[in-house]
């Protein structure tokens, strides 16, 4: 399907103009870099208001059905908006879990009631979502999740705990993977998937301090919390399949997201600017041959990441291994950010000692903070090592480890 270039240009101009007029001013306090780092109520409220404003302008959930709160517009329009807000490094859409994985999941597999109940609130940011997958003893081995959901009369009773729950302290709903059958034939078959309310008795999200000293995720304790059977999505015992579908949305391997960006990452041109600014042996770092080569490599990496998507649009250029590009994006993107921020710290020289809050920290301590936070994406959503297993096993057909 080809898009009329004039229509495209006109829409792009409209979007740019809207962001020119409506981009939020610096709030005067430090904003988080991603949805996994929302540590204060002040940050949360600010981001929620901003998402609402974008939605009200018609720029979020553009391709989602109108009847549930979307705008029934073509996907390319949403893509333009998302690209524009990413490029401008505007504050991200705080309800990432709702917009990008719970929402598409509900639209795909949910009942009519569930779509009516949840989709609109995801878009307006009235209903913030969190994700209850990982447990203290089972992270990468997600299929071993043990939090209990036991039938008691006409309800399920939840007991156990989830951990690393991003936005847990602010969320109204959670997507939850829980064990409904202790005696199932295998570990996967005993799992079920629920859409549950967070603000009920017996659910207690307790914030955990991150390595940056900020907050963002919780350990969520479940103590005889009771939920209705209508919270189930998919079949009882079919939770693993639902979880896999969710992860495909989360990692960007499947499309259908509402749009908007979920984090502010660094672009290589900012590291180039840094290399011009800082000195090495009395000369701008950008004059150093090794620095130049490494920066060129980052340009290649960043450009390659973008081009993968462009190539995937041509079936003959991906037909040998159609799953490769969708399954590798999260791995390559997150590792790229980690390595590039790590390199930026080296460019700082002695000044790398200063962190956010010190008046002498270059770029306000951005590089060190970004480096530390980059691990959120190399660990969260399935670690780099697990992603490599997936590529090796599912794309190359190697035996399971």
């Amino acid at each position: 399907m080809s898009i009329d270039p004039q229509e495209r240009a006109a829409f792009t101009a409209e979007v740019k103009a809207w962001f020119d007029d409506n981009a939020p001013a610096d709030p005067g306090f430090l904003l988080p870099q991603s949805f996994m780092e929302v540590g204060t109520d002040q940050q949360f409220e600010f981001l929620k208001t901003w998402q609402r404003k974008v939605y009200d302008a018609g720029y979020l959930g553009m391709a989602w059905p109108k009847e549930y709160g979307g705008h029934s517009k073509p996907q390319w329009m949403q893509d333009i908006v998302t690209a524009e807000m990413t490029k401008r490094k505007l504050p991200f859409m705080v309800n990432t879990i709702g917009l990008n994985w719970a929402g598409p999941l509900i639209l795909n597999m949910g009942t009519e009631e569930q779509k009516k109940a949840y989709i609109k609130g995801i878009l307006t940011a009235d209903d913030i979502w969190c994700q209850g997958f990982s447990e203290p003893d089972h992270g990468s081995d997600l299929g071993n999740a043990q939090l209990k959901a036991e039938k008691d009369g006409n309800e399920y009773v939840l007991n156990g705990s989830k951990i690393w729950t991003s936005l847990g302290a602010h969320a109204k709903y959670m997507i939850l993977l829980a064990r409904t059958d202790q005696e199932a034939a295998n570990k996967y078959a005993g799992l079920s998937f629920f859409l549950i309310p967070m603000k009920i008795d017996g659910i207690d999200p307790v914030p955990i301090k991150k390595m940056t000293g900020e907050y963002g995720f919780c350990q969520t304790f479940f103590d005889d919390a009771r939920i209705a059977p209508s919270c189930l999505i998919g079949d009882e015992g079919g939770g693993w399949q639902v979880a896999m579908a969710t992860l495909a949305f989360e990692r960007g391997a499947a499309g259908g997201q509402a749009g908007g960006h979920s984090m502010n990452s660094q672009s290589v041109h900012e590291v180039v600017a840094l290399a011009r600014k800082v000195k090495r042996n009395g000369k701008p770092a950008i004059d150093d041959p090794l620095v130049r080569q490494q920066l060129a490599q980052f340009v290649i990496d960043q450009k390659g990441l973008h081009l993968n998507g462009a190539r995937a649009k041509h079936k003959p250029l991906t037909e040998d291994r159609p799953a490769a590009v969708p399954l590798m994006g999260k791995l390559l993107g997150s590792e790229f950010q980690r390595r590039m921020n790590e390199f930026a710290i080296l460019l700082l020289g002695q000044n790398a000692n200063y962190y956010v809050g010190d008046e002498d920290a270059i770029d306000g301590g951005l590089w060190t903070r970004s480096y530390l936070n980059s691990f959120s994406a190399t660990i969260g959503g399935g670690t780099t090592q697990v992603q490599k297993n997936i590529l090796g096993e599912r794309v190359l057909g190697l035996p399971k480890s």
């Binding site: 672009s267 290589v268 041109h269 180039v272 290399a275 011009r276 950008i286 041959p289 130049r292 080569q293 920066l295 060129a296 490599q297 340009v299 290649i300 990496d301 960043q302 450009k303 390659g304 990441l305 973008h306 081009l307 993968n308 998507g309 462009a310 190539r311 649009k313 041509h314 003959p316 250029l317 040998d320 291994r321 490769a324 590009v325 590798m328 791995l331 390559l332 090592q385 992603q387 490599k388 297993n389 590529l391 090796g392 096993e393 794309v395 190359l396 057909g397 190697l398 035996p399 399971k400 480890s401």
Partner: protein, 378 residues
């Protein structure tokens, strides 16, 4: 240039190119299985002339030539999928030097030069480039070989090395210095003196060195001096792009060789592919190839839009750097992952590792490309 470079995400791939890719894939798989590759290594000619004739019949030698000269005018970027498949099959043919020589004559030749040579190339005549010199590097502009005018003729002197298929070429594009400037001159195969076959790391290649002393050719064999700089730039970029295509194709079948072994060899009671020390590098090779192909087809897209822009140069150098890196890594790991067998001549790993050395050392390795990129970008 940096912001423009980051913003350009254009990849075009026509149905015609898709058909070409498909045809090339099947052709190479059929004509160049590994036992055939190994058999050709043992032969003096180094390639199968019947297969070469088929390549010409498929239109590959004329793809970048204008219709007036018997070509199809598809453009140089259209050769990328073909050369990629040939790299995949480690296929030995004179295709790359032939199309490069043809394109250079087309670019910088006079009508009187194009008319005799180009249609022959389109029909499958071999042509090649003589650029390398013993003490030379990757820069094409400074040659010790020279020509001097002598009435209606020019006299050549010096020597050239690393010339592919010089023994069978109808015409050779030779770089020389004329009046202190680089020039390109056409020499016909029959005009060459003694050729010495060189021993090179990639045994699928047939490469020669020869002296230019005593050769004189009509002065109208000089390509247009006003277009020499362009022609040299074209050669460098086009070669880099085709090397990248060849390297990525090679890396891809090298990965297949690795995966095959990881899925059959057992140690400690399990398939070695279950060990992440082997699985994870295999996944890294995969992502390197995938990303390399994205960069490659972007380069091919820009090349066909306008080969002479800085944007194209950037795209081509990126593709070459990425391709060399992954081809070297794949070949290197292929040897290690085959254990003792990997150390043998019989194991195919060496074929790929040798080829990646050749490609890397041709027209600039990854580090060289990144140096050039840095100058263009920062």
């Amino acid at each position: 240039m940096l912001m423009e470079t980051l913003a350009n995400r254009n990849i075009a791939f026509s149905d015609e190119q898709a058909m070409m890719l498909d045809a090339a894939k099947r052709f190479v798989a059929d004509k160049s299985p590994t036992d055939k590759v190994r058999a050709l290594i043992e032969e003096e000619a180094g390639f199968d002339s019947a297969v070469w004739a088929e390549c010409a019949a498929l239109g590959w030698t004329g793809m970048a030539l204008e219709e007036a000269y018997g070509g199809s005018g598809l453009g140089f970027g259209a050769l990328v999928p073909v050369v990629e498949q040939m790299g995949r099959g480690l296929m030995a043919t004179p295709l790359v030097p032939t199309v490069l020589a043809g394109a250079v004559i087309q670019l910088a030749g006079t009508d009187a030069q194009k008319t005799p040579y180009l249609p022959k190339i389109a029909e499958g005549g071999v042509a090649t480039l003589a650029l390398g010199e013993r003490d030379g590097g990757w820069g094409l502009a400074d040659c010790a070989a020279s020509v001097t005018r002598d009435g209606d003729t020019v006299k050549l002197s010096g020597a050239k090395v690393l010339v592919e298929h010089a023994n069978i070429a109808d015409v050779i594009v030779v770089s020389v210095t004329l009046d202190g400037k680089t020039a390109l001159v056409l020499v016909e195969g029959g005009e060459l003196g003694d050729l010495t076959r060189e021993t090179v790391i990639d045994e699928t290649r047939r490469v020669f060195r020869f002296s230019l002393d005593g050769i004189s050719v009509p002065a109208d064999r000089l390509l247009d001096p006003a277009k020499t700089a362009d022609a040299l730039r074209f050669i460098e970029l086009a070669s880099c792009m085709l090397c990248a295509a060849d390297a990525l194709g090679g890396a891809d079948s090298c990965l297949a060789v690795i995966v095959e072994y990881l899925n059959t060899r057992k140690q400690f009671g399990k398939l070695i592919g279950a060990y992440q020390a082997l699985k994870h590098p295999a996944a890294e090779i995969l992502t390197g190839i995938e990303q390399g192909r994205s960069l490659l087809y972007h380069a091919a897209t820009l090349f066909d839009e306008d080969w002479a822009t800085p944007a194209t140069e950037i795209a081509v150098r990126m593709a070459k750097a990425a391709a060399d890196d992954v081809a070297i890594f794949a070949g290197d790991r292929a040897i290690q992952f085959h254990g003792g067998f990997g150390f043998t001549y019989e194991c195919d790993a060496q074929l790929y590792r040798r080829r990646s050395i050749w490609n890397g050392a041709h027209f600039g390795d990854a580090a060289h490309q990144k140096e050039k990129l840095a100058d263009l970008l920062f």
